[in-house]
């Protein structure tokens, strides 16, 4: 009984719950516009499209919850796709080695972001803004301005194909399976010691340090995880649609919005990975709804802006309603 009530409160009340409410509302809207959306194949297609953003949201979640930002993920996704195309250059046999190179590159970018933020004490907004510029420029410098080369069929498989001929559903996209694996991984990781220390570090850096936590190390790991998730997202996006000069552009803002929509607090220490990923799903569903409604394309940003503000305001109200000023701390633990 209380369990049910607590679940209800969690879903409809507190900051995290808002996203599930929003998700239900959007899906209801889509259902009203087009019941066929919930048939297997189109639902699968939706999930396939949503997978990269959900994966990025998982990565961004780690960074945000530990008290930082990662604005470089969009540029990193773009860079990864361009690197893949240029290095693979249509040769099937190069797929695997290039995937390893991309993995190394993604982890390295995350590591550099993390070290600059933690060791050099540069606020992560600036670190990753700088990284965004560096990646954007460097990758174009390397390819002379526009992507060259092409992707192999094997490279494109995870993003584009799936398990075919499944009854009722048609195709189960590999992207969906990868998304589920990453999602489960993220949720499980937050249940480990690492996850708990990460949360504590985002909440009160000093207390975590004095408890022996390697705050810098876990925060750096969060950036590395974000780099990893951007790499996976890059593989899926590149696989899904191939190379184009604009891949990844603006994704950083979409994904941060998604995570915040999921009730994760910018500044760290609060929010769950599941809700962050649900936020990403909600954003994708919102885009689908706009499409179903045939909302004039130029008006969509306006509606999107209103919904995001409303949802986050609603969540903030839910959080702050009981007990106005939460006891404050004079902690030096601060998001950077």
């Amino acid at each position: 009984m209380t369990r049910v009530r607590r679940l209800g409160a969690a879903l409809l009340g507190g900051g995290t719950g808002t996203v599930f409410l929003l998700l239900v509302l959007i899906f209801a809207g889509i259902l009203a516009m087009n019941p066929a959306f919930f048939e297997g194949p189109s639902l699968m297609a939706f999930l396939k499209q949503a997978a990269p953003l959900v994966i990025l949201a998982a990565g961004q979640y780690f960074v945000i919850v530990s008290g930082n930002f990662d604005l470089s993920v969009g540029a990193l996704v773009g860079a990864q796709v361009v690197i893949a195309a240029r290095l693979i250059d249509g040769e099937e046999s190069r797929t695997l080695p290039v995937l390893l190179v991309m993995l190394a590159f993604g982890l390295a970018v995350g590591l550099v972001n993390g070290l600059i933020t933690t060791v050099l004490k540069v606020q992560s907004f600036i670190t990753t803004l700088g990284m965004l510029l560096v990646l954007y420029g460097a990758i174009r410098l390397w390819t002379g301005g526009a992507p060259t080369g092409s992707l192999s069929e094997a490279f494109r498989t995870p993003g584009r194909l799936g398990i075919e001929n499944v009854p009722l559903i048609g195709q189960i996209p590999w992207a969906l399976l990868i998304m589920l694996a990453v999602g489960a991984g993220a949720i499980l990781l937050m249940r480990t010691r690492f996850g708990r220390v990460l949360l504590a570090s985002g909440d009160n850096e000093l207390a975590a340090k004095l408890s022996g936590a390697r705050v810098d190390a876990v925060r750096t790991s969060a950036f590395v995880l974000s780099g990893l998730s951007a790499t996976i997202a890059g593989i899926l996006i590149g696989g899904f649609a191939g190379v184009s000069a604009q891949v990844g552009e603006g994704l950083e803002f979409t994904v941060i919005t998604a995570v915040v929509l999921g009730g994760v607090v910018l500044g760290g220490g609060r929010g769950t990975a599941l809700a962050a990923m649900a936020g990403a799903l909600a954003i994708e569903a919102l885009f689908t709804l706009f499409n179903q409604m045939a909302l004039p394309a130029t008006l969509r940003p306006t509606v999107q802006g209103v919904i995001i503000i409303a949802a986050v305001a609603y969540a903030a109200r839910q959080r702050s309603r009981p007990g106005a000023a939460a006891p404050k701390s004079t902690a030096t633990a601060t998001p950077s």
Binding site: R193, A208, S211, G212
Partner: protein
């Protein structure tokens, strides 16, 4: 002569998250009266004060100031109505100067511009009035000692020329000398007819200072009596609802002071120097000294926060180099820090998450101890919480302190340093903390205890090491007199 009461609160209700914190509380304070509000941690004292200060608004009830009904939705309104407050948590901006903090929100202006000179002058005068001469109005608050920060807070409240001044545990961070200053000041306020509403856990203070006592328990009014009409024992019984026996629990018979567990030889750094110290298994060593004498610095050095740059530390006879907290933890040292909110707890995490933080953060410690025992530790400390999923920010101070202690006990340390473990916690919780400290010693831990209330050090410690100006001024046996300790602490005597 029928004067209106300075303050009259009637039927105040307040609930947080649907949990009632105050239920129809009445409070009347007369002009020129020093009125103390007492009660256990979480009784609702601070909440009542914050309602009066306009920080929270009451769910029900009326407030009258000098006979005029008021209702505040913002602290500014309370200030304008003549209510000044010193809150329990520090309410200062470290980046601003003393003068800027004192006048925050009420900066004096000349021709539309902030008049910094007037601000500094007024602050200097205010501080002189307080009898404080070693605090510059232009000093940055972030660089001050805790005591000076508290003095700044008090100066801030006094500078408002209020008719009613509320102070929530103003002496928690003050040493005796400053406490005396404050007493004198309150005396003067009383003479001027200013009403003072005071919150304190220190019994002596209550009886020395106050005219009237209002006792809260679980958010309800127990009684409001004149100080002269009640004895300390009766007061404690009314607050806690049961009798608290002797002030300090006796040493348990099987406590054996054994081998040296912590040994410092010639320890020193930028803040302290020439520290020679030994703590044995089963022994409680008290560190006494005035504010700024370097007690916390020794704790921080032992724990690797600001390590010693000279001298050596040995744990259980083995020399260790402690360059950061992780190393200290690995060596079996625990530190209960003096500021539990800033340094001890991740406030938005659950009780459980906080209690297992040390285990989570330290792999080697982890293997020594199963997290499942944490529940046992928490219940042995009599933690009162709505469950171990409750966020610690919603616990009362005493219970928060228990969570901090629990997190360290989980790591099974050999040496535990307790820096002001009873700061701001109530009589019952203090008593519990005393027994915990005793039982830690009985279990064979070496305990280094720092407490500003001399009586605690004297009552609990087997030996007292007194600091003066960053150096050890002398050593006394447990049970020494306050005069003996103060002689060393003030530098009047040195060994």
């Amino acid at each position: 002569m029928t004067t209106q009461p300075a303050l009259s609160m009637r039927g105040i209700d307040k609930a947080f998250l649907g949990v009632p914190v105050l239920s129809s509380v009445d409070l009347t304070v007369e002009p020129g009266e020093v009125h103390v509000l007492v009660g256990e941690n979480g009784a609702g004292k601070s909440t009542l004060m914050k309602i009066l200060a306009g920080v929270h608004s009451a769910d029900a009830g009326t407030i009258e100031l000098g006979g005029r009904a008021v209702s505040f939705t913002h602290p500014a309104q309370a200030q304008n109505a003549g209510v000044a407050s010193v809150f329990q948590e520090f309410n200062l901006l470290p980046e601003l100067t003393v003068a800027e903090n004192v006048h925050l929100g009420r900066e004096p202006r000349r021709r539309g511009r902030i008049d910094r000179r007037a601000m500094n002058d007024a602050t200097a005068t205010g501080l002189a009035d307080l009898g404080v001469d070693d605090l510059s109005p232009t000093a940055k608050v972030g660089s001050l000692s805790v005591a000076h920060q508290q003095i700044t807070e008090i100066a801030k409240a006094l500078s408002q020329g209020a008719d009613l001044i509320c102070m929530d545990e103003p002496t928690a961070a003050l040493a005796d000398a400053e406490v005396a200053l404050l007493y004198r000041l309150i005396e003067r306020l009383r003479e001027r007819g200013v009403a003072v509403l005071y919150v304190s856990h220190r019994l002596r203070e209550i009886f020395d200072l106050c005219d009237r006592i209002t006792i809260l328990k679980d958010g309800r009014l127990v009684e409001s009596v004149a100080t002269t009409a009640i004895t300390p024992d009766q007061l404690v019984t009314k607050m806690v609802g049961r009798r608290i026996e002797a002030q300090f629990p006796p040493q348990s018979p099987d406590t054996a002071i054994a081998e040296v567990r912590l040994r410092i030889d010639g320890g020193g750094n930028d803040y302290v120097d020439g520290i020679d110290l030994e703590v044995r298994a089963g022994e409680i060593v008290g560190l006494a000294g005035l504010q700024g004498s370097g007690r916390t610095e020794i704790a921080e050095a032992v724990f690797g926060i600001t390590p010693f740059t000279r001298g050596t530390i040995a744990i259980d006879g083995r020399d260790v180099r402690i360059s950061r907290p992780r190393k200290a933890i690995a060596a079996g040292i625990a530190l209960v820090t003096e500021d539990r909110k800033a340094q001890g707890l991740a406030l938005r995490q659950s009780v459980k998450a906080n209690a297992r933080l040390v285990l989570d953060a330290n792999a080697r410690v982890h293997s020594r101890q199963r997290p499942t025992r944490i529940r046992g530790i928490l219940s042995s400390l009599d933690l009162v919480a709505r469950g171990d999923d409750q966020e610690v920010q919603f616990l009362s101070g005493g219970n928060q302190q228990k969570v901090v202690v629990a997190k360290w006990l989980a790591a099974e340390p050999g040496v535990i340093v307790l820096d002001e473990p009873t700061r701001g916690i109530d009589v019952g919780a203090k008593h519990k903390m005393y027994s915990v400290i005793r039982s830690l010693a009985a279990e064979g831990l070496a305990v280094l205890l720092i407490a500003s209330e001399l009586i605690e050090v004297i009552g609990l410690a087997d030996r007292i090491v007194v600091l003066h100006d960053g150096r050890i001024a002398g050593e006394l046996p447990g049970g020494a007199t306050e005069q003996e300790v103060m002689a060393y602490a003030t530098g009047r005597r040195s060994s």
